[in-house]
């Protein structure tokens, strides 16, 4: 087994799946000759040719719209939006069409596409290049939203996403792209969508975090016994795993790098209030970005949840 970065793991997943399934094609800006601005698709044009690794015009709505047509036709397109901050022009295609094609055509047409987008803050990129607006996508029945939190989960989740019969948005935390290496099996494996992973079992407090925030929780030093949950798929969410954990620990801290209001943390907290309030010993706390526009890199450390803020939240719920 090789120790790979997330970029290498995703590249390997794409390469192996394209070799296995001729229906898989890539399209996006600079994905071919340049191998993607993060080199995620490096070498794939050479290996699979321009018919399957399509350098498109600069056209976010066109890319996702074309992927919808390709998917309905019977291909398995993997479209790249170069950065999540540019996905907004394609939200219309996702909301209006990808999410509802199966419903609107009563199953006559389906939309088995993947939209990959680098996501999240902390890489000193220009404005609009560090967004985490996953909650916009989670509000959309008919789309699955997946966020890997390391090289191993990136490969297994991406293979599952490409094989999934429904449209999947696959958000790749840019901060993790090259930050850590993990053992990644060379062979084929999938991690099922809609199933959370208990990263570490614990007794005192449940912490839920995804993407690059998971790494931050793992780095947080605390004397308390933390049960750490990585949902992996944000929609459909694995409520059973989360609720079982909260019922056991009686405490919940949610960590996400998106802003607080209307974030996915709100949905998680509301669900716990509906389903497990009698087992709670403490208020549910959210550690999130403040409700402001994502700042430029000089202020990013004040914006993102830090290990200090995470530790404080854990200490706070442990006071009850």
């Amino acid at each position: 087994m090789a120790r790979l970065t997330m970029v290498q793991a995703i590249n390997q997943a794409l390469s192996q799946e394209m070799a296995r399934d001729e229906r898989v094609v890539l399209l996006g800006e600079d994905v071919g000759r340049d191998g993607g601005v993060f080199r995620v698709s490096e070498g794939l044009l050479e290996r699979f040719g321009a018919e399957r690794v399509i350098d498109t015009p600069l056209s976010e709505s066109g890319i996702v719209g074309a992927a919808i047509g390709m998917a309905a036709y019977g291909l398995r397109p993997v479209a790249e939006i170069q950065f999540m901050g540019f996905i907004y022009a394609a939200l219309d295609q996702l909301y209006t069409h990808a999410a509802r094609l199966r419903t609107r055509s009563r199953g006559r047409f389906t939309c088995p596409l993947v939209v990959r987008a680098p996501y999240g803050a902390g890489i000193k990129a220009p404005e609009m290049h560090e967004e985490s607006s996953e909650a916009l996508l989670c509000h959309l029945p008919g789309i699955k939203v997946v966020v890997p939190s390391g090289p191993y989960s990136a490969k297994g989740l991406l293979l599952a996403a490409i094989r999934d019969p429904d449209p999947v948005v696959f958000l790749e935390p840019t901060r993790l792209y090259r930050m850590l290496r993990e053992e990644v099996p060379e062979g084929d494996y999938t991690i099922p969508l809609g199933v959370a992973r208990i990263v570490q079992p614990g007794r005192d407090v449940t912490v839920v975090a995804w993407g690059s925030m998971l790494e931050r929780v793992l780095k947080t030093e605390t004397p308390h016994s933390v049960e750490l949950i990585d949902p992996q798929t944000l929609t459909p969410f694995d409520w059973d795993t989360l609720l079982a954990s909260v019922r056991k620990t009686g405490r919940l801290v949610i960590v996400h790098e998106a802003v607080k209001s209307g974030g996915l943390g709100a949905e998680i907290a509301a669900t716990v209030a509906e389903e497990a309030i009698l087992q709670l010993r403490a208020p549910v706390l959210r550690v999130t970005a403040p409700d402001v526009v994502l700042p430029l890199p000089k202020l990013i450390d004040s914006y993102l949840p830090t290990t200090g803020k995470i530790r404080t939240a854990i200490d706070d719920v442990m006071r009850y």
Binding site: V25, L27, E51, R52, I54, T56, P57, S59, S61, G62, V64, G65, A66, A67, I68, G69, M70, A71, A72, Y73, G74, L75, P77, A89, D92, Q93, T96, H97, L101, R102, T103, R104, S105, R106, G107, R108, F109, T110, P141, G142, K144, D164, P165, D166, G194, T235, P236, F237, D238, W239, D240
Partner: protein, 351 residues
């Protein structure tokens, strides 16, 4: 440093069938008497369907409905040129296209009556659900054309939209990609002069819509959209070109939305009766009747027989549609995802 002309363009307009029923024989496409009869019968079907649908809406048996009166030639003529394997991406006013390719009439009605099951195309037809969000389906046609080429399927893709749609970003993005990739695609604009209350001049400052294709590197032609032979010929030529690797074509059909935008609209608020009357004089069906009469295969008896047949088909479809009954509430969940998520599964039990 010379200042020189580096590119020049021109836009052609094709018309074959004049309002008096005479045709330009040199331009006439090869159509047998049987083909012409079929075109006529389909146009009568489209018009009769439209009249019945508006009446059903008034009786409360359909929801809001967008009439296609006056656009029969532009719809039937273009759809008539298709092959059975072609992929179709209609907009919401293309009942004439649906009827021409044999989309079940009761399902068209079922959809406008508010039942999603009307959108399930029969397996034999590669026709997408109609697009409600104006112009957003244009990139889907691009994707289907990319996929068809990748699969080496010898077919073409056709997409219909209105003049209003040409102002949308997706029109630009779709056209641009189609040009860059030289796709087997035919873009068909129903330029019916209005987008609800906005006239064409409020939509664009360009002299034609057809010329927009030139900026994307492919051919754009204007046709008299009330001339079924011109529409058919332009579409047939474009499809042949698409199938033989010649790339996309944009066909702008000049026609007119004679009725209100929808059954909820009152076009009298924003346009003059004179304008409507002037266009009504160019009626596509009347023109075809005059041609057929000149050729000796149209008379009142045939016309009334054709109308009766159309009415009988539509009335039978209304009976079928109304016999189907309302969908089960569970139906909302059936196609939400391939498999329901945990929460959907719980909600489904509760409906």
């Amino acid at each position: 440093m010379p200042d020189e002309i580096c590119a020049t363009f021109s836009v052609h307009r094709l018309s074959i069938l004049a309002p008096d029923g005479t045709v330009d024989e040199a331009l006439m496409p090869p159509l047998s008497e049987g083909d012409v009869r079929r075109l006529y019968e389909l146009m009568v079907l489209a018009r009769t369907f439209d009249q019945r649908a508006v009446a059903l809406q008034r009786e409360g048996r359909l929801g809001t409905y967008p009439p296609s009166l006056g656009q029969e030639a532009a719809q039937v003529g273009s759809a008539f040129a298709l092959q059975p394997d072609d992929w179709l991406f209609p907009s919401f006013r293309e009942m004439g296209v649906q009827l021409t390719v044999g989309y079940p009439i009761h399902q068209i009605l079922q959809y406008w009556a508010g039942d999603e099951r009307g959108q399930q195309a029969p397996p034999s037809l590669n026709i997408f659900p109609i697009c409600i969000s104006v112009g957003t389906h244009i990139p889907h046609a691009v994707g289907a054309a990319l996929a068809a080429r990748y699969r080496h399927d010898p077919l073409a893709v056709a997409v219909w939209f209105g003049d209003g749609a040409t102002s949308k970003g997706d029109f630009h993005e779709g056209f641009n990609m189609a040009g860059v990739f030289r796709l087997p695609l035919v873009f068909i604009c129903q330029n019916n002069q209005w987008a609800i209350s906005v006239p064409l001049s409020g939509q664009t400052a360009a002299a034609t819509l057809a010329q927009k294709a030139l900026a994307y590197g492919f051919e754009g032609v204007q046709v008299d959209g009330n001339d079924v032979f011109a529409v058919y010929r332009a579409t047939r030529d474009a499809l042949l070109k698409a199938r033989s690797g010649g790339g996309p074509t944009f066909i702008e059909c000049l026609t007119y939305r004679v009725a209100d935008h929808t059954t909820s609209d009152d076009a009298g608020r924003y346009r003059s009766a004179d304008e409507v009357a002037a266009w009504s004089a160019l009626d596509p069906l009347l023109r075809l009747e005059r041609y057929m009469e000149r050729c000796g295969f149209w008379n009142e008896a045939y016309a009334s027989e054709t109308r009766q047949k159309a009415l009988a088909d539509i009335d039978a479809a209304i009976v079928t549609m109304e016999a189907v009954g309302a969908p089960d509430p569970d139906d909302m969940f059936v196609h939400a995802l391939s498999l329901p998520g945990q929460r959907q599964a719980g909600q489904r039990k509760g409906v």
